[in-house]
Amino acid sequence: MSTMTPATPARAHAHTRTGRGLRLSGLNWLVWRQHRAGFWTILALTAAAIALMGYQRGQMMHYLDSYGWPHPKPQWLDHFSSTGQLQSVSMTLGFIPVLLGVFLGAPLLAGDLENGTAKLVTTQAVSRVRWLATKLGVTALVIVVGTSALSAGFGWWWGPVKTESSILDWTSGAAFDNTGPVPVALTLFTVIGGIAIGMLLRRVLLSMVVTFGFAVAVQLIWSFFRLSLGHVVTITTHTGGMAEPPALPAAAHEMDQSFVTASGKLYGYGTCMHGSTPKAIQACLDGKGIVGWSVKYLPMSQMSSMQWLGTSILLALTAAITVFIFLWGRKRLV
């Protein structure tokens, strides 16, 4: 054991004083200092976006109140002007997982590996696992704070009009991926994927390009997969094929509409429509034994459970990649 020089930690040298309220120490300080430009940018843009959404919601509520919200007159939609803003903001929010994956995730370890600073840090008296854990932890914390705030802000703005699918359909990415826990999980998954890609490729630019491809693929697969998170509800009628199809609950997402026979056999809704007179159509429907409609749909009441199911799948994948990063990085990260 070394018993030399009574280790004078020489407290806070004049040059190193920052004087800010919260004083980070150890690896937390290092990780924050190294990536502070990125972290501050995320937090500042989040705050700006929240302010913008708050202002927009104020405008929107002013309009809705003039129509007697929460039970507005039926013609309230005629002059409703927030649709464009909701849609453009939601589209912008949709880019966040890709942007953060490429600009925060990919360089996070690739930068240290490319510049050799991974060697610098891991040869200090800290273990590689702790360094990795701090890096991933602080980054994840910033992402969770930022995306949760954005999700809450957007959900708060959209909330009063969410049952009006002509403004934003809840099953679309614009609504589904930007509210509740989904944006948090999608962003975390994309960023951690980017971190792993950067760790394996060890080059910043290359990892950013590959991560971009990964992030776009995640968005595509996710949008393809989104509706299968729900449990499809079927409603049938027996009032005959000439009657109107059954009314669905507000904002329900119709998946399929078809004729149904007494035995449950389905016919496409175009069946018999070639008939020129109602009589001919009726005869055709009767000839096939059609007794009513069968409509499959996703009610909006499932939105939250679908979001949480999707989130748990994404978080499980994120956890798997995290474990991989630790197993690989523990040995080979220099």
Partner: protein
């Protein structure tokens, strides 16, 4: 070379022990079957041509690489242990630093991450080069950056200081001054220093111990004095072809004939017969002879040897 006063304790303590160490990359073995011991308190030069495995050996010691075969211990612990990590400081060849950190922040990095940090020692090294503390590392000259990297390594107050090609981008003045710092630090605190270079002239004046690697294997290891004393440079007339018969029985490291004159570097195994002009080789001559003749048997002095059984055990594991 008195090191009883240092923190590294007894003369018998080993700073580094390697048992059958090997490291294989995709392109082949960078280091193979390397067994040696570096006693604590020494300033040891690690010499060899480029690509000889110096950086690999340093990397294994600094816990940046895992060996493919064998075991290496730093003060008795494996490199990945917290104990070894705390007692070892490593200055990589490219001297990586965070370019956007200021000098003061770079020293803070050392302070935040190392329990035994010596802020004054680190600041003194920076100040000696008139490097401004509030300058960003990215704006410094190569020499200034090296100085900051040195300060970071010294501030850790390591028991084992690993310097990989430390002088390669320094001007002679800075090189001389920083070497002086290394020597003073080592003398004052009993720090063991392992310093690699492919230029022996850089190390000749400061090192009292030597490890020579070439072709992935260890060629020489031990005290500089002993290594020199074990060799004799002989010059004499030899009319015939081949090895002069008088040299039979001695280990010939290298011999060259020009006309009737023979010059040879030998390890005498007894009294030398015949009419020879003998001389003690200079360190550089010794080194060059070993690097040129790869077939010459390696020489590991007693203090640099490790137990054969431990090697066998480590390789088998």
């Amino acid at each position: 070379m008195i090191n009883g006063t240092g923190p590294s304790g007894s003369v018998n303590e080993s700073a580094i022990e390697a048992f059958g160490l090997g490291r294989k990359y995709r392109r082949g073995w960078a280091l193979q079957d390397c067994s040696f011991r570096l006693p604590a308190g020494r300033i040891c030069g690690l010499v060899g041509p480029n690509g000889a495995g110096k950086t690999t050996l340093m990397g294994i010691t600094a816990n940046l690489l895992a060996p493919t075969t064998g075991v290496l211990r730093v003060f008795g612990s494996v490199p990945e242990s917290a104990e070894a990590g705390r007692r070892t400081a490593f200055l990589a060849q490219e001297k990586p630093l965070f370019r956007r950190f200021t000098v003061a922040e770079t020293l803070r990095l050392g302070r935040e991450l190392n329990p035994g940090w010596d802020q004054k020692a680190a600041e003194d090294i920076v100040r000696a080069g008139n490097v401004p503390f509030d300058a960003k590392v990215g704006t410094l000259s190569g020499g200034q950056r090296s100085r900051v990297a040195f300060a970071l390594a010294f501030g850790k107050r390591p028991d084992l200081l690993l310097l990989d090609e430390p002088m390669s981008d320094l001007d002679p003045l800075v090189r001389h001054e920083l070497m002086g710092t290394v020597m003073a630090e080592a003398a004052e605190h009993g720090t063991t220093v392992l310093m690699s270079s492919h230029m022996l002239s850089e190390l000749e004046d400061v090192c009292d111990y030597l490890l020579v690697v070439a072709g992935g294997g260890l060629r020489l290891a031990g005290e500089v004095d002993e290594l020199l004393a074990a060799h004799t440079l002989i010059t004499g007339a030899h009319p015939g072809e081949g090895t002069p018969p008088a040299l039979a029985g001695h280990t010939i490291v290298e011999s060259r004939t020009s006309g009737r004159q023979v010059t040879a570097l030998i390890r005498p195994q007894g009294p030398l017969h015949g009419d020879w002009h003998t001389d003690t080789p200079r360190l550089e001559e010794l080194l060059l002879a070993y690097l040129r003749s790869q077939q010459a048997p390696p020489l590991i002095t007693r203090s640099a040897q490790v137990d054969d059984r431990a090697v066998a055990q480590a390789v088998a594991a």
